[in-house]
């Protein structure tokens, strides 16, 4: 086995992205959909850090971008879960197919 290179990390992040994509599409649960989105965001972070480390280790751009992504993801999770709780209070359901007020 060779040393770990950029491609190893790209493969891992592609796998994580595909799994997150599967979760976002197939989950009936709004919280499950959110968990898939978190996986996708994390695969992006892994990509950013891998490119930063293997291509330009002296620069910090990738790590900074990953930090801001983590922060925005936390804000997004807060609002999304508040929405889930609010919708559950109104409809007594968190299944995404029950949330269809905007469907005409």
């Amino acid at each position: 086995m060779n040393a770990i290179g950029l491609n190893h990390y790209l493969m891992l992040s592609a796998a994580l992205f595909s799994i997150g994509f599967y979760g976002v599409i197939t989950r009936r649960n709004a919280v499950g959909v959110l968990m898939g989105a978190e996986l996708i965001l994390n695969s992006v972070n892994l990509n950013l850090l891998a490119f930063n480390h293997f291509l330009h280790p002296a620069a910090l751009g990738g790590q900074m971008f990953a930090l801001f992504t983590i922060t925005i993801a936390a804000a997004e999770a807060t609002v999304a879960l508040a929405l889930v709780v609010a919708v559950y209070r109104q409809k007594k359901s968190v299944l995404v197919e029950d949330i269809d007020q905007l469907k005409w």
Binding site: A14, T26, R27, N42, A58, I70, A75
Partner: protein
């Protein structure tokens, strides 16, 4: 096999396995626990990539805050624990095939490129790492070249917090 290679493969296996369990499991609370393991193990990968500060932030923010939030949402919405409600819709098989295809295409494209040629070195990088400590360099960068986005992110977090409280409160404001 060096320690680094072993660590990479072991943690990569844990990440992929737990992510799969998190996305396919029947019980959403167990999914949250598997997701917590995935996110915590990702911090090991960040350590291997010499991004110590991001690894610590990953554990603090994701495992410490986001997973706790998800668990609270799971417990506040009682229907989630029901084993008789199917957690996957009828697109499961088609989406499984689609995401396998997605992975295949992604890995083909990602391998085909010579990334060092595609991404040139930044002409004027905001900050260069001068110290051996990654955390010190990140701290200096955050408060010098990246000060404006740093402050803006604080504002966004504040707005998200207020918005979440407003959305989730019991009696909607008139």
């Amino acid at each position: 096999m060096s320690l680094q290679i072993t660590l990479f493969y072991v943690s990569a296996f844990i990440i992929v396995f737990c992510a799969l369990r998190a996305m396919t499991g029947q019980y959403i609370f167990r999914s949250a626990l598997y997701l917590a393991v995935t996110l915590a193990t990702l911090a090991v990968q960040y350590m291997l990539l010499r991004a110590e500060f991001v690894a610590i932030v990953q554990i603090l923010v994701y495992v410490g805050a986001v997973i706790v939030l998800i668990m609270f949402a799971v417990m506040l919405t009682a229907q989630l624990g029901d084993a008789h409600v199917s957690q996957t819709n009828r697109l499961a098989v088609a989406t499984g095939a689609a995401s396998l295809t997605l992975f295949y295409v992604l890995q083909k494209v990602l391998r085909a490129n010579d990334w060092a040629a595609v991404i040139p070195a930044p002409a004027d990088p905001h900050v260069q790492v001068e110290t051996a400590s990654n955390i010190k360099a990140v701290g200096q960068a955050l408060l010098s070249g990246y000060l404006l986005p740093f402050e803006l992110v604080g504002l966004i977090l504040f707005i998200a917090l207020v918005g979440a409280v407003l959305i989730a409160r019991k009696d909607p404001v008139a």
